[in-house]
């Protein structure tokens, strides 16, 4: 060492020492610059040094597999001792002394496990994603603002805060969420905050309401009024009604046929003159693009049809398949309530579930509660529009859309008597009508669905159930019910307007007062049935009633799943819960079963096609590994598009007649002109289209099968995608059968978001599964725990603790002992 030092000093002259110091300074600057770069986001990249740091970066979210979730703590937000017991699936069973403490803890638990998701979903609802995601979500945000999402939430927040029950519920929940947020630091933020480089902001009541509006928009926000206006423009009325019937022939409606409806208490409003009601359009006035709809199933069977002699209730709402999951299982217990089910992280209460007395489930009702109005602005004055021969000033709402890394965008949205101008000279999009359009949506109106949730969670008998659902106005839902007294019931529930014939089926004249929405239909006249003779009730997004229902309505219905469910349930007896599991996972395609023989009939003479041979032996089940399923789906698609695309392919939203209607026409009417392909000089028949489609299908399958297997699950690629679309946090190519039109409605990115089966025995027996896990943390073993079972159609027995439990159960593995802190 000494030698080294001497040697060193001898060789370094004053000159090189200075040089070295200059290098030292330069390197110091370089170090600072290097650190600065690693601490700064570059484009969409997060600050690299910050996230790679194993102390506080991403690895801080690597939750130890053996982590204990036990907790003993004092909380300033609660007034009495409370408990949270976690079972082996990390489902919390919350026991509190009063409502306030209960919802405070529910907020606390939601935020502990799902905070980032709650933040993102409410941002999405409010059109505030661009603040954190940048320009790529700007168009989405702008559309949300144009739809009036925040306006809608503000209206309903007033309703929720006017009721002391929901006010307390929301305030407590918000305080619980905020207690978690204020306890966090960078290292304990959910990992997505680090990767997207933003921080959580305080929760508030409106965020919970925004979440409800997000669901309302998801379920009722898509309406085909514009597309129907297009078809009305290009088709003769007879053809229109033939292709797009209000009620499809042979429908097995939600409320069974033959159910007696009392006469309407309100007279049917007189329809205005055609030219007053609807503007006239030309085909060129429309744009086109398409997105896919959603579906759900629920049913209940009476004791007379079950082996146990008590009712069984089943529900599987189909929604976008995302991680963290939309649902979070929870049990909530106070001295006057004991409820278990699926909750929405971001909102208090249980949305779908059961208590010690009743069980309930939801499917989307699909009655049209969103209408478009063309607005005539006053020429030369963008501040006013014509209504009833008068010039009326718009109410203006300026939407400030913050965009990460860019200037804030200000969008003036003009509100009319009908609602906000979603499209105007400044804003339009594919799939819309190129006119100023106002949107009138039930979701804009003040309603308090939170109160319905509050009351449902506590309902002990049928009339309490019906009182609770009075407050569920939008999104309208088919609400299935079963209780321990042996009753089953089904309501097509929501807030509906007494419409004149065809009101709102097409874009209406916004300047004529006769097109305004009129009175509400009294809710006790909403379609419903209880304990029908057939011994079961079911809904699967089909038409709500038969034609004897006295009020006119339209909607976006599909029938195939309903046909299958009703057929299956009517044939079943001595039903067990296993039978119900099987039915929820049923992948028989009633479309294939009905139309494939017809298609094969046109190809009887073709003997050298191996795909055709496969189909001839097929049982119509879209199992995960079925090759025939893939072949049929593709062939059907080619037939379907071959019939419609040349005639109707330019429709807005790419709306075409339903598959079930197409199927019916192919069987009953082989002469309609739509079979002819207008792109060719020859006149094609249905037989030509079917055979031509087969050739196309064979060609593309031959090409495809060289590279990949034709197994159905690979062809459809069911995926559960992380909300930020991070592939590493997502799951693709899941081995599932089914399709949107089978009971097991497993599509590419849509499917059964929560499968539940409840047997109303003395001790409630319930099973459930959802495609995710209780933790939203991709670094937790609880992130996607349930996914394998969900894929295989297996269920978990749900642990429903008895009222006043002390948490003594072998399945309880962690406990939170919570005591009130500080102020008394």
């Amino acid at each position: 060492m000494a030698y080294y030092k001497k040697n060193n000093e001898r060789h370094i002259s004053v000159h090189t020492r200075q040089q070295s110091r200059i290098w030292g300074v330069l390197l110091s600057v370089l170090t600072i610059l290097w650190v600065y770069i690693l601490n700064t986001p570059i484009g969409a990249l997060p600050p690299l040094g910050k996230i790679l740091d194993p102390q506080s970066g991403c690895m801080a979210n690597a939750e130890p597999v053996k982590k204990s979730f036990d907790l003993n703590t004092a909380m300033s937000g609660i007034s009495k001792d409370s408990k949270v017991w976690y079972d082996d699936r990390l489902v919390p069973h919350i026991q509190a002394a009063n409502d306030h403490d209960l919802y405070y803890i529910q907020g606390y638990v939601h935020a502990t496990f799902r905070l980032w998701q709650m933040d993102m979903q409410t941002r999405a609802a409010a059109g505030r994603l661009s603040e954190v995601a940048g320009e790529k979500t700007f168009e989405f945000d702008r559309k949300q603002r144009r739809k009036g999402m925040v306006y809608a939430a503000e209206n309903s927040l007033r309703a929720a805060e006017d009721d002391p029950r929901t006010k307390e519920m929301l305030d407590a929940y918000t305080a619980g969420v905020n207690a978690v947020i204020s306890s966090l630091s960078y290292s304990s933020y959910p990992i997505e905050y680090k990767l997207m480089n933003f921080v959580p902001e305080p929760w508030s009541n409106i965020k919970s309401i925004l979440l409800m509006k997000y669901m309302a928009d998801d379920l009722t926000g898509k309406t085909d009024d514009i597309a129907h206006s297009y078809f009305r423009t290009i088709l003769l009325p007879d053809n229109y009604n033939n292709l797009f019937p209000d009620k499809i022939a042979g429908s097995t409606p939600v409320i069974p046929e033959g159910t007696h409806f009392p006469p309407a208490s309100l007279p049917t409003p007189a329809a205005p003159q055609e030219q007053n009601a609807f503007p006239a359009y030309k085909a060129e006035d429309f744009g086109y693009e398409r997105e896919e709809g959603k579906g759900s199933n629920n049913w209940a069977v009476r004791g007379s049809k079950t082996k146990s002699g008590v009712p069984i209730l089943c529900n599987d709402p189909h929604l976008a398949l995302n991680l963290p999951s939309l649902w979070y299982e929870v049990q909530l217990q106070t001295p006057d309530m004991n409820v278990y089910g699926a909750s929405l992280p971001g909102a208090p209460g249980v949305v779908i579930g059961f208590n010690d007395h009743i069980s309930w489930g939801l499917t989307n009702n699909y009655r049209d509660v969103k209408d478009y109005y063309e607005i005539k602005t006053v020429k030369g004055n963008p501040d006013k529009y014509w209504f009833s021969d008068k010039q009326v000033p718009f109410k203006k709402r300026i939407e400030h859309i913050q965009i990460k890394g860019q200037k804030t965008f200000a969008d003036t949205v003009r509100y009319t008597i009908h609602g906000p101008l979603i499209y105007d000279e400044q804003y339009n999009e594919n799939g819309s009508l190129k006119r100023p359009l106002a949107v009138c949506w039930m979701g804009h109106r003040a309603s308090n669905e939170m109160l319905a949730v509050y009351m449902l969670n506590r309902a002990a008998k049928y009339n309490e159930f019906t009182e609770a659902i009075q407050h569920f106005e939008c999104p309208a839902q088919n609400m299935i019910y079963a209780d321990k007294a042996g009753n089953i019931a089904l309501w097509g529930q929501g807030r509906f307007v007494n419409k004149w014939y065809n009101q709102g089926e097409f874009v209406m004249n916004g300047w004529d007062s006769s097109t305004l929405w009129g009175d509400y239909i009294p809710m006790n006249e909403n379609p419903h049935a209880m304990n029908p003779e057939q011994g079961f009730l079911s809904s699967a997004n089909q038409c709500v009633t038969d034609s004897t229902y006295p009020y006119w309505y339209n909607g976006d219905y599909s029938e195939l799943r309903a046909w299958r469910i009703n057929q299956a349930l009517s044939e079943m007896s001595d039903i067990t819960v296993s039978d119900m599991f099987a039915l929820q996972n049923d992948d028989y395609s009633i479309l294939a079963g009905t139309i494939l023989p017809v298609m094969l009939g046109y190809c009887q003479d073709i003997n050298n096609n191996k795909y055709l041979d496969t189909l001839r032996k097929w049982d119509g089940r879209l199992t995960a590994t079925s090759m025939a399923g893939t072949i049929f789906q593709l062939w059907w698609r080619n037939v379907y598009l071959g019939i419609w695309n040349d005639d109707l392919g330019h429709s807005p939203d790419h709306l075409l007649p339903l598959a079930e209607r197409t199927m019916q026409l192919m069987i009953t009417d082989t002469t309609i002109r739509y079979y002819d392909d207008r792109a060719t000089p020859e006149k094609e028949t249905l037989r030509d289209i079917v055979r031509r489609s087969l050739t196309r299908t064979t060609d593309s399958l031959t090409r495809k099968s060289k590279e990949e297997s034709l197994e159905w699950y690979l062809a459809k690629n069911t995926s559960v995608t992380h909300l930020a679309k991070i592939p590493a946090f997502s799951f693709t190519g899941l081995k599932t059968g089914g399709w949107g039109n089978t009971v097991n409605a497993m599509k590419g990115n849509h499917g059964p978001s929560w499968r539940m089966v409840v047997q109303m025995s003395k001790e409630t027996e319930a099973w459930g599964v959802y495609p995710g896990g209780q933790s939203g943390n991709p670094g937790s073993r609880y992130y996607a725990t349930f996914l394998p079972n969900w894929v295989e159609g297996k269920y978990y027995r749900l642990l429903f603790l008895s009222p006043q439990t002390t948490g003594q159960d072998a399945r309880i593995i962690y406990t939170w002992n919570l005591k009130p802190a500080g102020k008394e």
């Binding site: 030292g24 601490n39 040094g49």
Partner: protein, 113 residues
């Protein structure tokens, strides 16, 4: 010996500073320790790199093993790296470079003695 002591000192200094300061305190730790020990620049770089790398790798591995590689595998995929170990080494290299550059800068400034 001094070499090894420096490396371990840097690792410990990083661990201490990081418990109160953000990740970039590893640069401060390396800089200060290097200033005090006066290694030649090349050796200082290796000491700074190794000190931080040691700390980040040990911490990363402890967290990863307890997590049974659930998250590191996903992070590796996120960064298009071949496997969970490569993620830990990738982080180690970035941390190590930070420590290395900081230690070298200090060594250069220190050469007046």
């Amino acid at each position: 010996m001094r070499y090894l002591t420096t490396i371990i000192s840097i690792a410990i200094a990083c661990a201490l500073l990081q418990s109160v300061l953000p990740w970039w305190s590893i640069a401060i730790a390396s800089f200060v320790v290097s200033l005090l020990t006066a290694l030649r620049p090349g050796r200082a770089f290796i000491a700074g790199f190794s000190g931080v790398a040691l700390w980040w790798l040990i911490l990363g591995f402890i967290r990863d093993v307890r997590n049974e590689h659930i998250l590191s595998s996903k992070l590796a995929a996120l960064f298009h790296l071949p496997g969970y170990i490569s993620y830990l080494f990738f982080a180690m290299i970035i941390g190590g470079l930070t420590g290395g550059v900081a230690a070298t800068a200090a060594a250069m400034l220190n050469r007046k003695r």
